[in-house]
């Protein structure tokens, strides 16, 4: 039988009982749709993680304080990570050539009669460099794909220097919206503002920024900010010394593991951490590199993939069994048709191909509908997962290939049963 004749015949058979065909497809539809939606969730989560940790360069070690559970509460595991821990690190750790530090606080900002409730950032002089390398924000209306430098981030004045950080200089750089909210159209540079109860001179204004990721533009406002030297922030905003976040820059990124060991030794010495009876150290800090994050992410992705594979296999097997069941019923119902076809010259292979193609058409029909349902369900999945769901393009051809394979696997047995029928018995079948 020629291919067009085969398709025409199988299509006629598969579409003869439309309700039954659609009900048979349900298993495949649900299976494929859930795979598409789940892959989209995985893809969205991965994209979010990648976006969040893009700022961590290959030569950086993120140092944060460790937390522990005590009586059901989260508490600090030991000493805080102090400003001094970070400040002295380049002098004591061979492989660390500089550090970036930050500390966050919030309070009132006042100029004349205008007051703003907002968050403040105490940072080191390399903060602008971190903003550029993170790739998370860009100047508004920036040409897509074009790179920008730290000088593109300041619209008026300048950012503070490393010596101003060391000297606890009472200076600050404000965000674009902070500037317009507080000063209207006036130039803020050189003006003195009140940060809580302390005076601070505005030395620069940031350019208007927006999130590179369009989906985050309405969630995060990068323009309502105030940056001041971390030392100044600690002096002015805290009664007790706060814990800071430290990023250590390693001079040789091929020696990251070695650098981590050196940082650990340095912090253990400063925090006076001794090994316990088993020789284990109970560190009060965590070290994270890009490799650690990617490794953990890969592990999570693998676990997720295994779960998805199990779900997909179960739902597709159920769908496949449904197809096999309906095809067996169809072969029985059409026994006489098989006899007639054999009498007029159909070979066993022609009969096999006819029924196999019918099974594949039903399965692929289910696959196509499953892809549509899966894509339509992505917004729902996203709403249940903090907006994190992105269609994985490869999942569409994958789903259709899987549908064909299911059709072949579960259609071959009924098709072979049809082809093995005795033509005389088949022609007499009532």
């Amino acid at each position: 039988m020629s291919l067009p004749d085969l398709f025409r015949t199988s299509w006629r058979g598969a579409s003869a009982n439309k309700l039954r065909a659609v009900l048979t497809m349900l298993g495949i539809i649900i299976g494929v749709a859930s795979v598409i939606a789940m892959l989209a969730l995985g893809n969205g989560a991965r994209a979010a993680v990648e976006s969040r940790f893009r700022s961590l360069g290959a030569n950086q070690v993120q140092i944060s304080e460790a937390m522990s559970f005590v009586d059901g509460k989260i508490e600090q595991a030991g000493e805080i990570l102090s400003y001094e821990d970070g400040l002295l690190m380049p002098d004591h750790v061979e492989l660390v050539n500089r550090v970036g530090m930050s500390v966050g606080s919030s309070g009132k900002l006042r100029y004349g009669r205008a007051t703003l409730d907002m968050s403040f950032q105490g940072v080191t002089a390399s903060a602008l460099e971190s903003i550029v390398s993170s790739g998370q924000v860009q100047p508004v209306n920036w040409i897509e794909g074009e790179s920008f430098t730290i000088s593109d981030l300041i619209v008026d004045g300048r950012f503070f220097t490393a010596s101003e950080v060391l000297e606890n200089a009472p200076v600050c750089v404000i965000g674009y919206q902070t500037s317009t909210d507080l000063f209207g159209g006036d130039n803020p540079v050189g003006q003195t503002i009140w940060v809580n109860r302390s005076r601070c001179e505005v030395i620069g204004v940031m350019v208007e920024l927006e999130s590179v990721d369009e989906s985050l533009r309405y969630q995060v406002n990068p323009n309502l900010t105030l940056f001041m030297p971390i030392s100044t922030a600690i002096d002015l905003l805290y009664e007790e010394e706060p814990s800071v976040a430290i990023t250590a820059f390693v001079s040789d990124e091929t020696r990251m593991d070695e650098a981590k060991v050196q940082i650990k030794e340095y912090l253990r010495e400063r925090h006076k951490i001794e090994p316990d009876v088993d020789g284990e150290y109970l560190d009060d800090f965590n070290l994270t590199t890009r490799k650690d994050i990617l490794g953990a992410q890969q592990e999570a992705a693998n676990t997720f993939a295994l779960l998805l594979a199990a779900m997909a296999v179960v739902s597709l097997i159920v769908g496949g069994i449904g197809i096999m069941n309906v095809m067996l019923v169809s072969v029985t119902e059409r026994t006489r048709e098989v006899g007639v076809r054999m009498a007029v010259g159909a070979r066993p292979l022609d009969i096999i191909l006819q029924f196999l193609l019918e099974a594949i058409l039903i399965s692929v029909g289910g696959g196509v509908l499953g892809v549509v349902v899966g894509i339509l369900s992505i917004p729902l999945a996203a709403s249940l997962n903090q907006g994190l769901a992105l269609l994985e393009p490869a999942s569409i051809p994958l789903a259709l290939i899987v549908a064909v394979v299911v059709g072949v696997l579960f259609g071959i047995y009924p098709a072979m049963r049809a082809a093995r029928l005795d033509p005389i018995e088949a022609l007499r079948y009532e």
């Binding site: 004749d5 007639v340 054999m342 007029v344 010259g345 159909a346 070979r347 022609l427």
Partner: protein, 237 residues
Amino acid sequence: MSESAKTIIRTVGLTRDYQMGNVILKALRGVELTVREGDFIALMGASGSGKSTLLSLLGLLDRATSGEYFLEDVEVSSLTRNELAAIRGRRIGFVFQNFNLLPRFSAWENVALPLTYRKGEFGVEEQRKRALESLTRVGLDRRAGHQPMELSGGERQRVAIARALVTQPAVILADEPTGNLDSITGREIMSLLDGLHAEGKTIVIVTHDASIAQHASRICTMRDGILTEGGMTHVSA
């Protein structure tokens, strides 16, 4: 029919046994039959006499237990299922008592069915053209687009005859073609078969109705698996 006419069918000592538990049922016992081009043969006999079994063997739907069967001088007993299917599709036309039309297919599609198994020899348009020619021959070209459910019994059997004719077979095998029809419609169908015979078609018809058998040029009678013709009984040694 002259003795010099081409031999279409020749069987030599054809037997067909069925195993029924411990019992062997002999459905055919050494049947010797020769059908020449242009013959119109009626196979008569009581129910269970073996006439339908013989027709199935002649139509290559079944294999003989022993003996030889030559179809157009080709010994077909040892051919594979695929080879038998190919010969069935090209050289044999079937007409069944219950028509055996495919319900979801139109009259012309039913008629064209044997052409679809000719490995792409005929495109859809060619299939339709040939089917319409065949339907015209049986006087049903105006009903080509109708499905079997929309046709009367007589019309359905005409469609089945058109299907048997569409491949221009060497022989038409008809199993009780009027069995499901009233007497008037039955006569119309026999008149159609007479016309085909007059055109030179070779026809073998199974019937238990003597008035139907009268249309044939030769009458063979089956009894307990033994074929008798013209008062002679052909049984191999």
